[in-house]
């Protein structure tokens, strides 16, 4: 373990009654890294995050932040990070500036310092025009931006982001991504949870895949993609009468398992079968099977997990 390790998670476990929520998860995060915890709803991402941020005590294992143990040195550990939660946990009845001021003071700033830091962050996050309105008038995207701004008021070295862009429109999502990348450029270390493969891919230097409380894989996005396989072929057949025929053609041509759902065929492609895709289209055409939709795309997360967990149980 090198000296620039900022976050260490060692064999943490958490059980709720008879359900094991987190089972023996370990990872290290280096200074300046963006680390993604990726997994479907209920996989245990938030539980891991709650243990790392002192909100929940683990049953076993250890978490240290900048060398401070979250159980035995919790107050010191809390000085090392900020967290932005899944739902914007900010006061609806306060204005954006008041929210920032309160958290500034709680982070140990005096009035003058809190005020100037608040103004700085309002500018950075493009909230100056609404700074003195209560949050009732804020859009979802504005709330998230303010939420992130609040997390940054004490200039934390570690930032935890719990699904920072869930439910945001694409434009606001891009804004959040830029803000996060800017932070890391300034020397912060970020751990984020997400259920979007695209987000983890775009932002994270390394990703841990979490499923059923276990880490099923860890690595850089490209390492993981190699493990998962490549792209997915999706064909939507216009006429349900010809569906079985289309399925037979795809199966025979690609020699890969074909998943069927309603009138949609999906096939996880490996690199060699990619070149066979045009043949599938040709044969569908010569058999006069009209298709209403066709795509080669990154497989959705669910499929990735199906593949990652398949054969391991």
């Amino acid at each position: 373990m090198s000296d620039d390790t900022v976050i260490k998670v060692m064999n943490i476990k958490k059980q709720f009654r008879n359900k094991v929520a987190v089972n023996d998860v370990s990872f290290d995060i280096k200074k300046g890294e963006i680390f993604g915890l990726l997994g479907p709803n209920g996989a245990g991402k938030t539980t891991i995050l709650r243990m790392m941020t002192t909100l929940l005590r683990q049953d076993a294992g250890k978490v240290s932040l900048n060398g401070f143990d979250t159980l035995t040195q919790s107050r010191l550990a809390r000085q090392q990070f900020s967290i932005t939660g899944q739902t914007a946990a900010i006061d609806q009845d306060l204005t954006a500036r008041e929210n920032l001021m309160i958290f500034g003071k709680l982070n140990g700033l005096n009035r003058t310092a809190a005020l100037s830091r608040a103004t700085e962050l309002l500018t950075d996050f493009d909230l100056t025009n609404s700074a003195d309105q209560t949050l009732a008038t804020f859009s979802g995207g504005m709330r998230r931006r303010l939420d992130l701004a609040i997390s940054l008021i004490g200039k934390p070295t570690i930032l935890f982001l719990d699904e920072p862009t869930t439910g945001l429109d694409p434009r606001t999502r891009m804004q959040m991504w830029h803000a996060i990348q800017k932070l890391v450029a300034g020397g912060s270390t970020v751990l984020l949870t997400t259920q979007y493969l695209e987000e983890a891919d775009h932002l994270a230097d390394r990703i841990a895949l979490i499923d059923h409380g276990k880490m099923v894989a860890m690595g850089t996005p490209s390492e993981l993609k190699k493990q998962v396989g490549g792209m997915q072929l999706r064909i939507e057949v216009a006429d349900s009468q010809q569906f079985d025929q289309a399925q037979t053609i795809a199966q025979a041509t690609l020699r890969l398992p074909v998943n069927v759902n309603d009138r949609i065929l999906t096939v996880l492609l490996d690199p060699t079968s990619m070149s066979q895709v045009p043949h599938v289209l040709q044969q569908l055409q010569s058999s006069k099977i009209p298709i209403s939709n066709f795509a080669i795309e990154t497989p959705p997360l669910d499929d990735v997990f199906l593949k990652m967990t398949a054969g391991k149980n």
């Binding site: 909100l55 946990a89 709680l106 982070n107 140990g108 830091r117 934390p156």
Partner: protein
């Protein structure tokens, strides 16, 4: 990397939390109306509607009404603590506070210190409304302040009970409506608005042992005679006992949570 320009003491944490809590009251029309509008409406409504029937005239009714309204307003303001705590917990704001390097008790303390200001505001508004309607206390100003302080003290002791309820009951709306019903029943089944001797025997017995009646009688005596009576001492001690029981209990439940 961390900015530390002032000492992050428990006292400054609690003051910041109190400030936050009061800002919430001032910005939220719902919370503000509980504290400010209700005392005004109730004083006007009861004074002008029932003054004639109960006491012959509004002026004759006011000395009796004012202590009832004062205690009712104070209890109303106190009942807010439970619902506000629960709303903060459910909104995730308290979780966020818990991840900050601050005194862990500060969020709870901010609510309860904020309550003192809300109680004061509510009590003063009730008295001013009555004054504007023509009520003139026979007590002098220092004793008027003493009566107000006693009411606030009792209100604050019940704030701790409501805070405990807020920590234990998960549904904020339920806490709100429960608090309202309890206060309505407790104040209407008391000597707040009506002479007790007009009531049927059983109800009279209930009204006489109602702690709200005892509090109102003590405050009424101070306002009428201008002196601190033995019943006021009893009420003060009861408030003290409530605080001694519920303050540690509420803090314990708060610390155990999560």
């Amino acid at each position: 990397m961390k900015l530390t320009t002032t000492k992050n003491s428990t006292v400054s944490n609690v003051l910041t939390m109190t400030h936050r809590n009061l800002l919430k009251t001032m910005h939220n029309p719902d919370n503000l109306s509980d504290v400010v509008i209700e005392p005004v409406i109730f004083t006007l409504l009861f004074g002008y509607l029932f003054g004639g029937v109960i006491a012959g005239s509004v002026q004759a009714y006011l000395p009796m009404l004012v202590s009832g309204i004062l205690v009712q307003s104070i209890l109303n303001a106190a009942s807010g603590s439970g619902q506000q705590l629960r709303e903060d917990i459910n909104a995730g704001v308290f979780d966020r506070f818990k991840t900050l390097p601050i005194s862990p008790i500060a969020p709870l303390a901010g609510q309860l210190v904020g309550d003192i200001f809300r109680l004061l505001l509510s009590g003063v508004v009730a008295l001013i409304t009555a004054f504007l309607m023509g009520w003139r206390p026979s007590a002098d100003l220092p004793m008027l302040v003493v009566a107000l302080l006693l009411a606030i003290f009792i209100g604050w002791s019940t704030s701790w009970i409501f805070a405990l309820v807020g920590l234990m009951v998960k549904n904020a709306e339920l806490i709100g409506s429960l608090s309202m019903i309890i206060i309505l029943v407790m104040t209407f089944l008391s000597n707040a608005f009506i002479p007790v001797k007009t009531l049927p025997g059983v109800i009279q017995a209930i009204v006489k042992v109602n702690p709200v009646s005892l509090t109102i009688t003590a405050i009424r005596t101070i306002l009428r005679t201008g002196s601190w009576g033995s019943n006021a001492t009893m009420v003060f001690i009861s408030g003290l006992i409530i605080i001694l029981i519920f303050m540690p209990l509420t803090v314990l439940v708060y610390q155990r949570r999560g």
